[in-house]
């Protein structure tokens, strides 16, 4: 028999169930009000349908949200968070039950029996331990990832500790509630749990005192619970509420860029009055939800190569500054206030240009927050206002006039083919073929990178692929033109190339340039499927059409994953298979910085022309990583990576000691001749 219960107790002569009914009602009313206010900017935001793909979205929810897939990438914090997350799921039900116990005596949630009680007691205890460790870590060890630079706002440690304190209070009051009850009834508690500890500590306490303790524990839990609930949407712990939704609507496809405005086709772009994000309300509702969802864990910035070399960019603060903006301009009380344009107030031009769009931040975010579309949208806004650094205006002008960023002559685009050693058919000469080799600007015109084009042509010939190039009918793929915000120039390049691709009559496209690969795959609708040369090489090795002979040297090789081949398109293994097919080749990985954690070389396309404020080059950092891994040769599969890494080897003073080479060149040098 239950000797006491909050629903039957009296407080100052009144039935306790009255305050215990009023507390949840008031708490929920305040919570609903806050959420309504928080939704205000989302209702004024740009459209973003995110319909369909429900299966894929549910899979993301299961993996990223429920299974906390990305958390163990930061092992200690990740594991502690997983304990906390499941503790919340288990104890959320218990807290709900407790709320009802305040006014319905003996309430239990349907289906929650004794087994649940055992689980929740251990969950509470494990969560208690995790929270204690997290609090010590926050307060005493202060991981560098959480530091807030002076110009980025206030430190979030007090908020974090307050939240951890609330969670501890909830856990302790729940366990005291349970323990005091068990002490009074003589019931058994699950051994070594908090409830068990309280039950034994209170074993000899008289029943009336236990009743008071039980009521006090209940009241503390009830008040803290609703205080906690209403505190969540006020800061970085909003993610406790938003994460499920944010992950459900997160990016499903990688490598793509959002349209200028959802619902407006490429042909109607002229009718759009303003391009990109200029004011806060130009963001889409999902991007605002991203801002709300940021937990300030700092993993994005920790993996951001631009931040690493001290460029003025921190993805974490893109979110946090935008959230601070939203909270300040959409206050809980009072009218929304219009703010200044974002660039020039909360964001700087250099900050937004500093991003190489490598995607490391998005790969890491445990909440599925997007950054690339926001960066591109902010750049579209700057381009629309004419705010483009002088160093990039020249290449943009040349791309418009000549179809390549250096302003080289169109008719010289296929000049590299003369020295390829194999016949190269050209669409502009009237040729057609089942396979189109899309060369793109840098491999067409850059003296050094032409060698990759030539090697690619020889590999294609050896693999007995009947291929054609567009020649002077090819213009830049526009990959980085689009990602630097010049949408209309991209559209004109795309339209021109699409015509050429149709004229080639090809049924598939290959390219050695991951930027071209990414553009053709994700930005060019209605063209044949596209493959990277590394995939074609791996397939050729598999089928036996391509065979390797023994390597000439005993040096150690490492493979650098280009961002637009790896992270954005998931091609990690074919280049490695190609390397491993060279008999006796010794290959090492840059452990911790390979595959989806690859470190950007410094960026391609227009980034070659941008003059960033930075303390060192990303390429130099990358070369150091390769050297530490014990490599003599860095193999990459992207002409921009090769450009940046070759430069970095010189800058690092490692010329003669280290070498960079493209996968196509290396494979070409090792192919068996028939």
């Amino acid at each position: 028999m239950v000797p006491f219960s909050p629903a039957t107790a009296t407080l100052a002569g009144l039935p306790a169930r009255i305050p215990f009914l009023l507390i949840p009602l008031a708490g929920l009313a305040v919570f609903a009000w806050i959420i309504r206010r928080r939704l205000e900017p989302l209702l004024r935001a740009a459209p973003d349908p995110r319909r369909g793909q429900t299966g894929a979205r549910l899979r993301l929810v299961l993996k990223i949200w429920l299974a906390q897939w990305r958390h163990p990438r930061y092992l200690l914090a990740g594991v502690l968070h997983i304990i906390l997350f499941f503790g919340f799921l288990v104890l959320g039900a218990r807290s709900t039950q407790l709320v009802f116990l305040g006014f319905i005596d003996g309430f239990t949630l349907p289906g929650f029996g004794h087994a649940y009680d055992v689980v929740k007691d251990y969950a509470a205890t494990a969560t208690f331990a995790a929270v204690a460790i997290l609090a010590v870590r926050r307060a005493a060890f202060r991981p560098a990832r959480y530091a807030v630079p002076a110009d980025m706002g206030k430190d979030h440690t007090p908020e974090a500790l307050l939240i951890l304190g609330m969670i501890l209070t909830l856990l302790l009051s729940e366990s005291l509630f349970e323990g005091s009850l068990l002490a009074a009834t003589g019931g058994a508690a699950s051994p070594l749990t908090l409830a068990w500890a309280f039950r034994h500590a209170l074993a000899s306490t008289p029943a009336p005192a236990l009743g008071h303790l039980n009521l006090a524990a209940y009241a503390i839990h009830d008040l803290t619970f609703f205080l906690f609930l209403c505190f969540l949407p006020l800061g970085k712990h909003f993610h406790v509420i938003t994460s499920l939704f944010n992950v459900f609507w997160m990016r499903v496809e990688t490598g793509n860029v959002k349209p200028v405005r959802h619902g407006v086709g490429d042909a109607q772009l002229d009718e759009v009055k303003s391009f990109g994000v200029k004011k806060f309300e130009d963001f889409t509702w999902k991007h605002m939800l991203d801002f709300y969802s940021c937990a300030d864990c700092g993993r994005c910035t920790d993996r951001c190569p631009a931040n690493f070399v001290k460029r003025p960019l921190s993805p974490r603060f893109i979110s946090i500054k935008a959230r601070d903006y939203a909270f300040a301009h959409y206050p809980l009380l009072g009218e929304a206030v219009e703010g200044k344009p974002l660039v020039g107030s909360i964001f700087s031009e250099d900050e937004i240009w500093s991003c190489t769009t490598c995607g490391a931040c998005e790969e890491e975010c445990p909440l599925g927050i997007e950054y690339l579309d926001k960066i591109v949208d902010l750049r579209r806004g700057m381009v629309d206002e004419g705010l483009v650094p002088q160093s990039m205006q020249k290449p943009l002008g040349a791309l418009e006039k000549r179809g390549n960023p250096w302003g080289k002559l169109e008719k010289k685009r296929a000049d590299w083919a003369a020295d390829a050693g194999v016949a190269v058919k050209q669409v502009d000469a009237g040729d057609t073929a089942p396979t189109l080799y899309f060369v793109d600007s840098i491999s067409s015109y850059d003296d050094r990178m032409q060698k990759i084009a030539q090697a690619s042509a020889r590999i294609l010939a050896k693999a007995e692929v009947d291929f054609v190039v567009l020649g002077k009918e090819e213009k830049d793929s526009g990959h980085d033109v689009r990602r630097f915000g010049e949408e209309m120039l991209f559209q004109s390049l795309k339209d021109h190339n699409t015509e050429g691709i149709r004229a080639s009559q090809a049924t598939r496209i290959v390219t050695n340039d991951p930027h071209a690969l990414n553009a053709l795959k994700h930005d060019y609708p209605g063209i044949p499927p596209v493959q990277h040369m590394s995939e074609l090489i791996a397939a050729g090795l598999e089928s036996g059409k391509l065979r390797m002979r023994a390597p000439a040297d005993g040096r150690t090789y490492t493979y650098h994953d280009p961002c637009y081949l790896g992270r954005h398109n998931g091609v990690y293994d074919p280049p490695r298979q190609a390397l491993d097919a060279i008999p006796g080749l010794k290959r090492v990985e840059m452990e911790g910085n390979c595959r989806d954690r690859s470190f950007c070389c410094g960026g391609g396309g227009l980034m070659l022309f941008y003059e960033p404020h930075e303390e060192q080059r990303m390429g130099v950092v990358r070369v150091e990583m390769a050297r530490k891994a014990g490599a003599d040769v860095i193999v990459t599969a992207c002409p921009y990576c090769l450009t940046n890494i070759e430069d970095a080897i010189k800058v690092a003073g490692l010329e003669g000691k280290m070498e960079a080479i493209d996968l196509c060149e290396l494979v070409d040098g090792h192919l068996e001749n028939d």
Partner: protein, 255 residues
Amino acid sequence: MEILVCVKRVPDAAENEIAVEGGALRGDDLVYSVNEWDNYAVEEAIQIVEREGGSVTVVTVGDGESEEVLRREMAMGANQGLLLSDPAFAGADGLGLATVLAAAVRRGAYDLVLTGAQADDGAAQVGGMLAAILDWPFASLVNSIEAQGGLLRVGREIEGGAQEVSEIDLPCVLSIQTGINEPRYVGLRGIRKVASVELPVLDAAALGVAPAPARVRRIDYFVPPAGAGADMLTGSTAELAGQLVELLKAKGGLK
């Protein structure tokens, strides 16, 4: 302030591989753009109008193809364009161009006329001649402009890096040096927005001018043969840098 900016369509030096044939630039494969200095002049005019009010008109002397540079400058923010076009203007020398432009200036009510300091394919003479024909004061190589009531305060960089500031009465003609500002970017979108704006065209009769035949005529045009070899420095990177610093000091590039 009503501002007129004189602009010119020139072969784009950065985006052409210059080929010379028979005493002239070979025409095929050439792409054209706005003369670089003129972009700075237009940007400056736009900024002055943003601060002081008024409007910016861009003008050029040329054929129908010159329309594209006017539209580009209008996409940048100039309010009106004006094309001065007549077969009689073809082959005009600096004085001829200045005469035509002066007629256009007299038709309007401009407080200020800006030109680029020079054109990629020009000789830096039209601005000064234009001022003389109008009998307006002229300041050249201007790298800063500040409006002071009925006056302008203009700056100019002097050899050695010193800055000179002068007062100049309005109306006046200024030739603008690069670096006075950072010209805004003009994308395809901006150009499309002004693609259908009507551009007035004035010929010799409308302007009431008949430029005299050119008295300066180009008689040859060629790429000089490459000179004798350059000095090649040798040594480690540190030694190379040291030698370079010494050379720059010796030649007066570093102090």
